[in-house]
Symmetry: C4
Subunit: 271 residues, 4 copies
């Protein structure tokens, strides 16, 4: 009896956690479709002008899906090799967050929008198509971005100070106009960010000649500034393909390292 | 009689398929002009407020051009070295799609917009100016893009999950406002994509202080994120000029390869 | 008498054409200021709601400046080493175009906007500050751009066909709506270009769900496409600093060349 | 007595200027928080529709903070190793500008917006977190940008002439329309900059067919032009990691240098 139970657990684990078996892959496909349906329900339900019958149908569908996800979470917990490691690991927490929100709405009405966290589970899609090399690419991207994080952080502090100054300057210039959209400095800084990032909504636009002159200057500045993160990231990507250590540089802080060094003498990075 | 017929076919083929002869080039120039005229007619006709006489004129012109293209297609089919290979090949299908739509409109009224597929035939322009080296460049571009496709796919899945989360967050923040443009989560995700891609139409804009703060954050995020595909593509373009195999890397998956390897041990790419 | 005349001509030439002498530099400074004033006058005069006295003042100022530029052109022509070479050379034609427009307005009323061509003379500014190394940089930029022109041309033909197809698709989707801004296919193609280039005016925006879905797709596409010219130009800039010939490549068509080659065997470029 | 006084000065200096001691770090943290509060007050006060009690509260808070900053400045001046060097150095002037504005408002009402210069003091944040390596990154960024300044300057002169010509062209095309937003050439140039930089507010948009055609061309041009500063900056970043002198090039003007050279023969840069 016990042995058969143990076998069942093994089988279940093969389906839920393993994607090498046909059953495991079918399980992953069904799961991803369920996540997609649950997200579409959330999107459609957010529309306030839905007919009554659709509201009811979607509500029922969501209850069903939530029950399914709950069963899935319990099954995962039940057949995990180490329950503790699964429950406290990254994927376990994401799986839990995909289940909890509907139950939380009994206490917190806004909690149901946490359902959006189910979208993170989409990353499982790589498992379906066995695209592990894709995950390697993603890891390489993250590593390259991580290495250029220092430079990007310095850059954003500079942009931060810049938009505060430019926003205030525009507020001084434009706020005198009747019906000016530059109502306060906060709004002006929001405008400065909109302009520097070349988004340019157009909900707030300068109307005075001086304001437009300054705007033109800010836009041309943004033209150059937008190139800087690009340059940082690109230089980092190119460095990723070539081996920085072989070139006598620390891959993290770019300081020079000698041939026999095992750690960077500047930042302690293992070489 | 038969020999002369065979000769005629040869001559026709030299004009239609060959662009080395003066007659062949003249034929290609006339054809490209006809395609351009046919597209301009399609564009002008889409305007609902045309005077009656212009509508008639354009209609007649289109019938004439359609007949010309039909004759051209039949001629191509007639004098192709292998009719089957032409009819089922890429260019044959494109040529057919340039002819069919007006006839299809007897059955499907919307079919005439398929005429737009005629624009693909513009690629013939390279043949007119004998710009074959241009096509090589295009192939190199596509190869470089293809090689970075894996990275870009991972990146877009990440952006996809991100805009879903950011869009929902903005919906929660902004939808409480009276007359808010953030009507449902779908609209909010559309807004998030508009903002992250720095397009910024301005048809949907945040009006609350918190919404503007989050928007500013999203814009600065987009500032950095927009740099990532650039970095990927640029790194790939630079790799294209240098020979990756010589650098001991697989040109497709970037894994290390040994000197004598004929295939990549990771992805099977021929080196 | 004749000798003194010859001396005068020499002196005049030293002032007008030479920027090594203090007098020559002062002349260039005054000239650049005059050009700037003349442009500002043109900008201010374009405003239809000017007071009468300002209109008169600006008109008089422009007549004075035009006379000055006329005298300058005649002086340049008079003291040029080779009158013919100056008159038919690049700078001579630009100088002439800075003088002619006000006289042309007697025959063509719209001709005065040709005055804008005076802005090209601003490039003289490099002579004032003796920034010849800047011009070298500019030449290097142009060379790098020129080398990537083939790739960019292929790319734009692709973008051209793409926006025609996407614009027509959006027209089919959106034109059914009442008061749709997508009035005809031309307008829709204009919208597609606005979106793909991430400019995003917002004068034309999709309102249907399907239209917004397609727009989101176009924006994310633009996200990647905008990276391509960047990649091409950057790769070209990096190649400029390294010597392509030494790397066994033709600097123009990137074909492989052997060590002793004096011309590229593919495009005839001198190495 | 005097010795103890000297000791006090030493102690004060250790707190204010040194960030190695716990007291020094705590001082820096408190200072940064005070600066942040003072900026938030400035932003909130700019809103004209504040309730009376909030206005008073903020006013009092600002007076308190200004007194604190005044005391801090005097203390810094008092315990600086060399008072003169501190008062006339970069940080001394920034510290003074953080104190002066409220006092200047007695004479100049607009002077209080100079308070925004306090935001520059945020750079102290690096001292709190001991992120000196960040400052190194910043310096490297600036050096790379500085080296590409020549190229960017040439580029912007070109863009400057271009937007003047394009703006005037659009003014000629669009100004004939009734209620055209292209009121004068200045506005049209502002529009051209908005479009070329891909900001695209949408407050000024073309309405004629010809205007939209030219706009499409300008957008596609901006598509390529926006890539140029990116290429310049990226190429410069990549050069920073490799050693230009070793490659036989001057790091500043990129001219060729011989192996033994100690200064660049073209620009005098020390190698």
């Amino acid at each position: 009896m016990k042995s058969s139970n143990w076998l069942q657990k093994e089988n279940l684990r093969a389906i839920i956690f393993n994607d090498d078996t046909p059953a495991g892959r079918r399980f992953d496909v069904v799961l991803t479709i369920c996540i997609a349906i649950s997200l579409v329900i959330l999107f459609v339900e957010s529309n306030p002008s839905l007919p009554y019958w659709l509201k009811i149908t979607l509500g029922v569908l969501e209850v069903v899906l939530t029950l399914l996800f709950t069963v899935e979470y319990i099954a995962r917990l039940y057949c995990a090799e180490s329950r503790r490691r699964y429950a406290l690991g990254g994927w376990g927490i994401i799986d839990l967050m995909a289940v909890l929100p509907p139950y939380l709405t009994f206490f917190l009405p806004g909690a149901r929008y946490l359902l959006i966290l189910r979208s993170i589970r989409f990353i499982r899609i790589f498992r379906i198509f066995r695209l592990f090399s894709f995950l390697n690419e993603g890891e390489m991207l993250l590593k390259a971005l991580g290495r250029s994080l220092h430079k990007i952080a310095v850059y954003f502090l500079f942009v931060f100070v810049l938009v505060i100054c430019l926003g205030t300057l525009m507020f001084i210039i434009e706020s005198g106009q009747p019906d000016s959209a530059f109502r306060d400095i906060g709004t002006s800084i929001y405008w400065a960010i909109t302009t520097l990032s070349t988004v340019g909504y157009g909900d707030i636009t300068p109307t005075t000649h001086l304001g437009r002159l300054l705007s033109s200057f800010i836009m041309l500045l943004g033209y150059t500034l937008i190139a800087v993160p690009g340059g940082i990231v690109t230089a980092s990507f190119i460095d990723t393909t070539s081996d920085p250590v072989r070139n006598g540089r620390c891959p993290r802080c770019d300081a020079k390292v000698r041939k026999g060094d095992k750690f960077c003498s500047q930042c302690g990075e293992k070489l």
